[in-house]
């Protein structure tokens, strides 16, 4: 029976080609608009560290001046000072702890055929790598070094390793840069977390760095302070160490706890730490520590911009207009079929079978709409990566989104067709048979 309905539907559709294409296109347009905006929000707010994000926390202290807010209305700064970062990391109260910051310097490969270049560097404690599950191609990271004992080791990104060592396993090789000789201990695999949650000072979708170094080297070689450097004191001395000892914030401080239950305990530790610092004359404001897990941190930084939500709501209304439009076109379509339906009724088809046949027909139109919607989605997302070049690292149409598209299309075609179908089923055949 279903096969017969299907055949009949195809016949009807091909007879009313223009109208059918119009209905499917309308549905497809509405669905594409919705899916493009939805997938952007979905992809931008994707958990960058699945299974672990609720245990990895970003730490903030309010070390600002009395009466001033680091971030309006009265929030602590996003970053922490050098002193606090070192104190917290060396206290080792969490499973993993690492502070990191962006910096840069000249890389001068020993091989004279490779031109020197300005390397963008992430200076970090070694526990950065296991905490953020950074994938390694060769070798591994380093342990957190004690305060005054740091080794000149480095981890290269995959592309930097390709640039300097031709992509071969370079673990154990030496690399001259920043005027010193470094030993390569690891090479990363492709790694582009989006959003780049651990440091969003250059934007949430900025590319990862070329080179990773132990954080203490930043101070030993007096490397520049990249990212945000915020200060409130006005009379900081001119030398490099003075900045490190000041209340200037520049480092992103992250810890991983054994489980989310340990949060309270760790908060108490942070509170005790700030109180101890208050006794030393720091932290003039009331204690205002923030311990946000990755997803809370992303929400706090508003990674998905308000624009995206506005587009999504407008697209929803757009889909609604398309639905109404399709509904009125369907109504036209089925009214034109009145006499045919009357004939079938007169020949013995009951209301249910008319209903089933009409439903098959709308579902086919919905399927066509889904197809058009998917094609438009692909083009639309292409357009989005053209408009927002930073998004190209993560924008793609995944399987779930495709399934959702098809489902929405079928549901909306049935919604749009339902009332016209019911009307056509209920009409009295006699008047149309004259």
């Amino acid at each position: 029976m279903l096969q017969y309905y299907f055949k009949l539907s195809l016949k009807n559709i091909s007879r009313q080609k223009g109208l059918s294409v119009l209905i499917s296109t309308t549905l497809g347009l509405g669905i594409a608009a919705c899916m493009i905006t939805y997938s952007l929000i979905h992809l931008m707010s994707k958990d960058p560290l699945p299974n672990k994000s609720e245990r990895v926390f970003h730490i903030q202290f309010d070390n600002w001046q009395l009466g001033l807010a680091a971030i309006a209305p009265d929030l602590p700064p996003d970053e922490v000072t050098w002193r606090d970062a070192m104190n917290i990391v060396h206290a080792k109260q969490a499973k993993y702890q690492a502070a990191n910051a962006i910096t840069w310097g000249m890389v001068t490969p020993a091989d004279k055929n490779i031109p020197p270049f300005l390397g963008i560097i992430r200076a970090t404690h070694g526990e950065f790598f296991p905490m953020f599950k950074v994938p390694f191609l060769y070798g591994q990271g380093w342990q957190n070094f004690p305060a005054n004992n740091v080794e000149y080791v480095t981890v290269l990104s995959k592309s930097t390793n390709k640039r300097i060592f031709g992509g071969l396993n370079s673990v154990g090789q030496t690399l001259p840069m920043l005027g010193k000789l470094f030993t390569v201990v690891g090479v990363l695999d492709d790694w582009h977390p989006s959003p780049k949650f651990f440091d969003m000072s250059f934007g949430a979708f900025y590319q990862p760095e070329d080179i990773y170094l132990p954080l203490q080297i930043k101070s030993e070689l007096e490397l520049p302070h990249g990212g945000n450097l915020n200060c409130w004191e006005t009379n900081i001395a001119d030398d490099y160490q003075a900045i490190l000892n000041s209340e200037c914030v520049n480092l992103n401080l992250w810890v991983e706890l054994p489980s989310a239950q340990n949060k309270q305990q760790y908060e108490n530790f942070l509170k005790a730490y700030v109180e101890q610092q208050k006794a030393l004359g720091r932290f003039p404001k009331a204690i205002n520590n923030q311990l946000l897990d990755i997803n809370q941190w992303l929400a706090h930084k508003e990674v998905v911009s308000a624009d995206m939500y506005v587009f999504f709501y407008l697209a929803l209304l757009f889909l609604l207009v398309c639905l109404f439009n399709a509904a009125s076109l369907m109504s036209t379509k089925f009214t034109a079929k009145n006499s045919e339906v009357a004939l079938r009724r007169a020949l013995g088809a009951n209301q249910q079978s008319i209903f089933a046949q009409c439903l098959t027909e709308t579902s086919i139109l919905g399927g066509l709409g889904a197809l058009i919607g998917l094609v438009l989605c692909i083009f639309g997302l292409q357009g989005i990566t053209y408009l927002y070049p930073n998004f190209s690292a993560f924008v793609s149409l995944d399987m779930t989104l495709m399934l959702i598209t098809v489902c929405i299309s079928l549901v909306s075609s049935i919604l749009a067709g339902l009332i016209p179908i019911i009307k056509v089923c209920r009409l009295a055949p006699a008047s149309y048979l004259k």
Binding site: P115, D238, D307, V321, F324
Partner: protein, 420 residues
């Protein structure tokens, strides 16, 4: 006279429409009419809000930065050898740029509009006066800065070469003369008599004092974290570092050829450095305003597509009505209605539907805006956007009705005699 006018009016096509039967025809197609009216209403809500958001973004895009955006580019020279001398290299490079015939002027600076980073200083007219603090982004330029950026100095004068401090990165001495923008001047002194402000003293970061040497009309901040993009202060300072960023202003239409020439020249002149990040101000501007350009594009695509869909909906229903009412139209024609009567009947119907849609649409538009205001801190929708969107919908409706109405007009009176 009055009767004459009345008679004339009653002869006009729209006056001769039988409104009551038309109204009841529309009421008989309850489903089709509801769907159509809702469609128009939602379209109005989306178009008015979308246009409003897009026009706000357009305002941001149309702001000028105060510099000669079309004829300026920047590049970085990074020295990497141990005996590289940043100060000599900088002075040689700048001297060479400045005597090239296609270059108007050049300056070494990391701050310029769209560069995306700068320090912000806190300015006031009295020490310790909390109320009168004005934030300003700081520019460090030598005496060529104003000419290289293409700023217009409207009061006072430019720095003299002897006032410019050449500093290393750690030297934070603040010079005792500054140039400020009109926006800073107004914020500090609440006056527009610019020349009266030259020679006045201001305090910087509660620690240093400086005398206002000149006032420039406009210079936007390199980035704006505080919502005061027009606030800038220029210090006569040059910071020497291994990586120097040069901003070069060329003569009109000489930009591309000059970039090539400068790159060739720098590549040969000093082998101890490399040249990178050669960018025109136009490309940087596009990057900075990228999200706004994207928002405008997306909104315009949505508005256009939606208008087309709405027009198709209106056109579709009208042609269906014409098809269904072939016989009635024939009867009316046979009973004496002329072609214009039929035409105006369909237009009147369309205007009635659109009006109903617009009426409901106004409520939707205001509701949608209230939601966006509450959730995403958007400004309130001015009523003019609703009026504009409504006018668009009327025009769209009439255009969409045109074709089917013309077909209806040409239905022959003989149709009346045919059955079904």
């Amino acid at each position: 006279m009055i009767t004459k006018v009345k008679k004339y009016i009653s002869q006009l096509p729209f006056a001769r429409i039988a409104y009551r039967p038309m109204f009841s025809t529309l009421l008989r197609q309850k489903y089709a009419m509801t769907v159509l009216i809702l469609q128009i209403a939602l379209t109005l809500a989306v178009i008015s809000n979308g246009l409003f958001i897009a026009s706000q973004r357009l305002d941001i895009l149309q702001r000028t930065s105060g510099i000669d955006e079309n004829n300026t580019f920047v590049l970085t020279s990074s020295g990497f050898t141990e005996n590289f001398d940043p100060k000599t290299s900088m002075q040689t490079d700048l001297a060479e740029f400045r005597q090239m015939p296609t270059i108007i002027d050049a300056v070494a600076t990391y701050s310029f509009p769209f560069s995306g980073s700068s320090e912000w200083d806190d300015l006031r007219t009295l020490l310790g006066n909390e109320q009168n603090s004005v934030p300003a982004s700081s520019y460090k330029l030598d005496e060529h800065g104003i000419n290289a950026l293409g700023l217009s100095l409207i009061a006072g004068e430019n720095f003299s070469p002897s006032e410019v401090l050449w500093q290393t990165e750690s030297n934070k001495t603040i010079p005792n003369v500054v140039i400020i923008t009109t926006s800073v001047a107004e914020g500090l002194f609440h006056t527009q008599d610019w020349s009266s402000l030259v020679g006045k003293t201001i305090f910087i970061n509660e620690a240093h004092s400086a005398i206002i040497k000149g006032i420039v009309l406009q210079l936007q901040a390199p980035w704006d974290p505080v919502g005061q993009i027009e606030n800038s202060i220029i210090y006569p300072r040059v910071v020497t570092r291994n990586s120097a960023r040069y901003l070069i202003r060329t003569k009109p239409a000489m930009l591309q050829s000059t970039i090539a020439e400068v790159e060739r020249h720098l590549g040969m002149s000093n082998q101890q450095r490399m040249i990178r990040k050669v960018q025109t101000i136009q490309t940087l501007r596009k990057e900075v305003y990228g999200p706004d350009i994207a928002a405008i594009t997306i909104l315009l695509v949505v508005i256009t597509t939606l208008s087309i869909i709405a027009a198709m909906g209106i056109g579709g229903i009208t042609s269906f009505n014409v098809l269904q009412r072939h016989k009635q139209i024939g009867i009316r024609r046979a009973l004496g209605a002329n072609k214009i009567d039929i035409l105006s009947q369909f237009f009147a119907e369309n205007i009635m539907q659109t009006s109903a849609g617009i009426f409901i649409g106004c409520i939707f538009a205001v509701g949608l805006n209230m939601f966006l205001v509450a959730q995403y801190a958007l400004p309130k929708l001015p009523f003019i956007y609703i009026i504009f969107a409504a006018l668009c919908l009327y025009v769209l409706g009439i255009l969409a009705t045109l074709k089917p109405a013309l077909r209806a007009m040409n239905v022959s009176p003989a149709e009346a005699t045919r059955s079904q």
